[in-house]
Subunit: 340 residues, 3 copies
């Protein structure tokens, strides 16, 4: 944590491909909000709500769009999309872990598993049979990787991650702690008295540039694989059931759950706490708002919701009584209309 990244504004402008207005030799060593930035730090401005903070910032330089350059009191890095430029700048200021490549002495790796020279297995990592771990992969301490897995180059698993057997993840993947990939799908056959387990014989395939949040679970398929396509971003505490397919560049926010064999299209946004029942299909370009239940397929791009919105409980209690009488209410209204 003693590592400090220092860049001149000239270097930043070059690396981020932005126009610089100001002293190219000035040095910044960190990034902060407009309000909290101190001299020597970079900031960014993309939300008009914070306009007054731009005018009084103590940052040494601000990433912003051209129209605000004139009012900025300090050096400017001019960007077409300042938020995107901030994202790229933030990566430059990420701390770099100090450890060198190689496996910690306590890591347990089966003899049949191939691990690239540049990969890092931290302490107490356990890896099964016939798994492949690519270049610059890092597996966090106390993580367990099963057999027949494939971790492509530049993928990072944080500590305490579990991959069951037959899990594949593409390049530049990120998997946060506590996540479980490849656990058994929830499949049983009922004999009239009790449930018999259906062995879950498929695996999980995650594409390139996939990020999986903390405490998220993705079940293996019953026969075919559960699939998460390239560029999908999944937040914390999400549940992806067996044989789900999540389309490319879709975002699934925290605590959402996708039930078995459902398909989410590409470029969708599934907000937090959303449920999707099993065997439905959501087309490309759909947004579902927070805590909605998708209980049918969606065939038209757009924004979808369920729920009632928040009320004070006293009035809410009266209204939910009326909700249970809605059909009756409607019919009585129809009678009134007819009787006129």
């Amino acid at each position: 944590m003693t590592t400090v990244s220092a860049y001149s504004l000239r270097e930043l402008a070059q690396q981020l491909d932005l126009e610089l207005i100001g002293d190219p030799a000035a040095i910044v060593t960190g990034i902060a909000t407009l309000e909290k930035a101190i001299p020597g730090q970079l900031s960014f401005f993309h939300n008009p709500l914070y306009h007054s903070q731009l005018l009084t910032t103590h940052a040494s330089a601000v990433i912003l769009s051209r129209e605000y350059a004139a009012v900025c009191p300090v050096a400017c890095l001019v960007a077409t999309n300042p938020y995107l430029a901030y994202a790229k700048a933030s990566i430059l200021f990420s701390p770099v872990p100090p450890e060198r490549a190689g496996s910690h002495a306590s890591a347990q790796v089966h003899a049949t598993t191939r691990i690239a020279n540049t990969a890092i297995l931290e302490a107490n990592v356990v890896v099964g049979v016939n798994t492949f771990i690519g270049e610059n992969v890092r597996v966090g301490a106390n993580s367990v990787i099963g057999s027949g897995c494939y971790l492509a180059d530049d993928t990072k698993l944080y500590p305490n991650v579990t991959f069951y057997d037959d899990v594949k993840i593409g390049k530049r993947g990120i998997v946060h702690s506590g996540s479980v990939i490849g656990s058994d799908g929830f499949g049983f056959a009922f004999d009239g008295t009790r449930y018999h387990k259906i062995a879950q014989l498929g695996g999980v395939t995650l594409g390139d540039d996939v990020e999986i949040g903390a405490g998220t679970s993705i079940d293996r398929g019953a026969l075919d694989d559960t699939v998460v396509e390239d560029g999908v971003k999944i937040d914390n505490q999400v549940q992806i059931a067996h044989n789900v397919r999540v389309g490319a560049n879709t975002v699934v926010c925290g605590c959402s759950a996708i039930a078995g064999s459902s398909t989410i299209g590409k470029n969708c946004i599934i907000a937090g706490g959303v449920g999707v029942i099993n065997h439905v299909t959501i087309c490309d370009g759909v947004t579902v708002t927070a805590m909605s239940l998708v209980n049918q397929s969606i065939t038209k791009p757009g924004v979808y919701s369920s729920g009632t919105g928040l009320s004070e409980s006293a009035s809410w209690k009266k209204n939910i009584v009326r909700f249970r009488q809605l059909d009756e209410l409607w019919k009585r209204l129809l009678r009134l209309e007819k009787s006129k």
Copy 2:
């Protein structure tokens, strides 16, 4: 993962107790859907929606009910309940882990703990004081088992499972990765200013044939045990609070939460994302649909729901305004009726 299970159709018919129509010497080495199966694979047909796939399947044999045997283009295994027969067949094709019994050298087991000879403790497993681990139990890598626990015969814990002290699990249990059994119930006493912890002195008792999904938590009881009866199947990311009782052969789907001291009957189906408030009782034979809130006891078997169903957000926004006026709307309707 190089293990291949190969069975002649004669063997399958015998082991599954099914009638064979076709060449008893034909060999199958895997199981797949009707659509994806290739020669040498077994498939199954139980959902009339896939009838056309049955007619064109490349599987070597299909499990089906008698009425479809005539139209099946390949060998048939005739079953009264084809889905149940598929479940049993799937187990035959499960990969068999290669490791032998015994504890990995890195496992840390207290001297007072008894472990059956046929049990397997994988790498970095830690076990506390006075715990008992039965025959053919397998504890996955990096799992931690507390003191005073009991793991009955043939139970399997996947990697990174945590059992606190005083957790008992019956025979043939399955616990998936990331699950935590026996964590403290959420109990506090408020003194008017701040909360004082109530020590959670009970344990957790799980019956025989219980399966617990990935990332699920089951809290220990405050004084008595939290209890999950025989044959209960719990999916991923479920929360079972202290002193809950879940009745035999009940299914709890992903992301559901049962609050403290509530009782779920036998043979219930709690769908995904359901919440059950504290201190309620649900009788036997109840189904609760996805993302419903059970905010009162249920005394009659049947199907129960809450929520509004999905709408496009534009119309939904108008309707939730009206929801907040429902009681007023009802009263105005009554006035209209009276004024006629």
Copy 3:
């Protein structure tokens, strides 16, 4: 688990600062409910629902308020707040872990990290660079603590906990298994085609007397810290997103989720399964009932709810059709009123 805590009633009365009515030399060795207590056990009475159990209890002594002392058939410990006195008594009967201070031989600690002499690191714990671990801290087996962390005195982490870098927790903290503190906030910038990760450069600051349940995740801030103030109690499977602030002595029940940059006031009760959308503020003293969605800021203390309440599915299905027509229904009612 063979440890038995034994107290005379005199000792209990002194330690809990309660008035004793009964034999001060009588010994109790455990605590149980009125119904289940056997001679030699302590019980408590605070809920009038259990009045008949008080009259027939076999406990050796009961904690209760003065008004019930006359009807209590056994010794009494008289308390102003019997539930609070029970909480304090329960701590006295908690099992005491037998292990001594120090790090297990298998723990991996970076040379720069300082660990108090009285702290305990259990088996396979991994600790990063420049972390500080205070007096009487206990870190459970297979937990991983990152770099730059600070664990204040008397804090306890159960097994399989993960702290990323830059996580601070105050005194007397409790963190249950499977929890992940400091994982990346869910921040991306969209370039019109795909998402670019925003490095999450803040940390997490947890106050004194904070308890975090099993399987809960708290993300690090984007630039500033995510903050949980003193005395906050968070249950299992809760998701706290980046840059959230949770005010002192607030309770967040199981499976709730607070989205990014939202602020919860002090002394709030967030019931189970609640969602709070991003960038909202909830004032002090708010209660939100189970499975409600807070989709706007709350500026007035009180109780808030959303949802419809539970119905039998058959009638519910009719009513949700009408819910989608609510705005139309309302307009037709207005027309009727006008036409009178």
